[in-house]
């Protein structure tokens, strides 16, 4: 679970102390953004696809209740048990109930940010059930006892040397062997044993199709397939916004998802789960956990269109220079910085300020969420909730006042232009502006207003 007291500015400053590691992080993720660009460019209809995806999701959200009920009816007709969870606690209780009833002692899990959001792992572990994350990246962060730093590439903050060290300690690989193929094989061999001995498999859901009652999981490692094919019980946990109305809509999203996420035309596996295998069980847990509150918000309902591709993180210049671990909410980056504050403005409101409002995220987003605008709107909520630091609030009130009184603003500006050049550098170099290595602008003798007035007088 994540420490939700993290403040982005401080955590990012700490991360940036190791500039070399920070540069590496930035370039590694920028490379994924470039792969995305190259893939997107190959589709002449890319922008139309984004518009279509936006419309399908917008339509679905406008009748979400109907589509959810249709989905439930069709899933139940397929023999699937459908559960509804109002919040994280209920989700965890339901999953535990299913596992306890079947006497399951080990659960293999794949592809689920939702279970991170719900804190499922510690909940089950406290109740004597072992949980094994099976995506390679998720497994790595699980072994390190840390949260994922990215929603698609959970261990992107780590280099292969870190992983080699970890696997040496946890899985007994050779010390100092950093070969990715070797390390991957070691993880795979270890995971294989867990797949074979687990009593149940849990997956996330990328898309749930109302007309068929089936769910679709997109992965690259095939672990979701092993995790559902080997154990007899499959639990699929989904946020209630995952619905698409018809199977024919799926193609729009699968074409966008992998291209946006990792810059490949499609994920290696696009697995459809429709019913339990003979003798097995299939459960779908539909989770609200704050989503219907977001749906009811004029400013933020659009964030429910998200298909969790992670492209907004990859393009975010702040994310790339601060890692996902600098954000207090479990989902980092632009989308996390609207979802987090929506969940709890007091806890996560500061995330909305970790943004220059450059708008690159809104442009890469395959479902065209107005992400950078949402962050500004979340700042309104933070301001109104009184979560701004006192000094900042004072500054804003002063600014408000000066904006109304230009003559005072002129006087203040003049004072600044006269005083700054004579203030000893020792005083200014500790200001937030100058501290990290940035000089103040040179102060001109006159403001434009003064120049303009003088020019007018000369002309007359």
């Amino acid at each position: 679970m994540k420490n939700d007291n993290i403040k982005h500015a401080a955590a990012a400053a700490a991360f940036l102390q190791d500039r070399e590691q920070a540069r590496w992080h930035d370039s590694a993720i920028w490379w994924v953004r470039q792969k995305r660009d190259a893939q997107a460019k190959q589709l002449p209809e890319w922008e139309q696809l984004r518009a279509l995806a936006q419309q399908i999701k917008a339509h679905t959200l406008s009748r979400l209740d109907e589509y959810l009920e249709q989905f439930q009816r069709n899933a139940e007709a397929n023999g699937v048990t459908v559960h509804w969870a109002a919040d994280a606690a209920e989700h965890n209780r339901i999953v535990h109930g299913i596992l306890a009833a079947a006497g399951v002692k080990k659960l293999v899990k794949s592809k689920s940010m939702l279970t991170e959001e719900c804190g499922l792992n510690p909940y089950l572990e406290q109740r004597g059930i072992a949980v094994i994350d099976t995506d390679l990246g998720e497994r790595i962060v699980q072994l390190r006892h840390e949260p994922p730093s990215h929603i698609v590439m959970p261990a992107i903050h780590l280099k292969k040397e870190h992983i080699s060290e970890l696997f040496h300690k946890e899985l007994g690989t050779e010390a100092g062997n950093n070969d990715p193929t070797y390390l991957t094989h070691a993880a795979r061999a270890n995971l294989r044993e867990h797949f074979l001995s687990a009593g149940a498999g849990l997956t996330g859901v990328n898309f749930a199709i109302a007309e068929t009652g089936g769910v679709v999981v997109c992965t690259n490692e095939g672990n979701a397939d092993l995790g559902t094919a080997l154990p007899a019980i499959h639990i699929a946990s989904m946020g209630l916004e995952k619905i698409v109305p018809r199977l024919e809509h799926l193609g729009v999203f699968t074409r966008l998802l992998a291209r946006s996420a990792i810059g490949s035309p499609i994920t290696t596996y696009t697995s459809h789960f429709q019913q339990a295998r003979p003798g097995g069980q299939m459960h779908i847990v539909i989770v609200d956990n704050g989503r219907s509150d977001i749906l009811g918000s004029d400013d933020f309902y659009q964030s429910l269109r998200c298909i969790r591709c992670g492209a907004c993180m990859n393009t975010c210049p702040v994310y790339r220079r601060s890692t996902g671990h600098s954000y207090s909410y479990i989902i980092p980056g632009p989308i996390g910085s609207t979802l987090g504050p929506s969940r709890d403005i007091k806890k996560h409101g500061s995330m909305a300020f970790a943004c220059t409002t450059c708008g690159s995220c809104s442009n890469v987003c395959p479902v065209k969420i107005n992400l950078h605008e949402q962050l500004i709107l979340q700042r309104k909520r933070a301001f109104d909730a009184g979560t701004l630091k006192a000094a900042k609030k004072m500054g804003l009130l002063a600014m408000r006042f000066l904006t109304r009184h230009p003559s005072l603003m002129d006087a203040g500006g003049k004072l600044m232009r006269k005083v700054v050049p004579i203030v000893p550098q020792a005083l200014t170099q500790h200001s937030a502006w100058s501290r990290p290595g940035r000089e103040l602008p040179q102060m001109p003798a006159q403001s434009f207003k003064e120049m303009w007035q003088a020019r007018k007088e000369n002309k007359q």
């Binding site: 990012a12 690159s360 309104k380 408000r400 501290r435 940035r438």
Partner: protein
Amino acid sequence: MNVALFIPCFVNELYPHVAMATAELLEGYGLNVDYPLAQSCCGQPLSNNGDSQGACDAARRFTGVFKDYDYIVSPSGSCTAYVKHHYPWYIADDADFQAMQPRVYEIVEFLQDVLKVDRLPKPVYFPHPVSIHQSCHGLRELGHAAPSELMIPYHSRLERILQLVDGVDVRLPERRDECCGFGGTFSVDEPEVSVAMGEDRVAQHEATGAEYIVGADPSCLMHMGGIIRHHGKAIRPLHIVEILTGRGGAA
């Protein structure tokens, strides 16, 4: 044609020569240029920090000061984008604002779309390599160029207007439109990230071999300029109007 100069508050205080170049450029095309003295901040810093009441007051104030001019022109893409696209958050129903909104322009947009210029008032010879800095709000909110994220045909207002300048050698940095990290109050709320972004951006501009970073947003140029001076680098930030008026390099 009556044109009002909208000079952002910090440009008024810190970059008066950019404001003056803007005025001279417009006058050079024979326009009647006025600078309404009652103007103050457009309110973007208030809005960006969640102060809706303050932002709303500033928007009404701005509208009152500028509504009667034929055009309102500014040398800042960010402040222009804010007025055009974010005022509706606060005063969408204000009839004066609605009538004014389509007449607010960033200077390069104004030259290209309203005046449709095909020459500069005075011929300019600027035999230097320059690296184009696309500032985010001009780029993504005003459409100053095709943003690299969107799969749309390439265009760039700055590159187009620089075709009117003799001798200039236009270059593009790697990551052609990544944010410089200024971000208004972000620059002091998250100074370390802000400066790290700025250092990367300056390095990318330098790597083109350019002598100048040319942009249409004084705030980004101020931020990069502060980093350049800190490290004593040779490259210089320059506002596009400084080149178009033939003052480039003098400042």
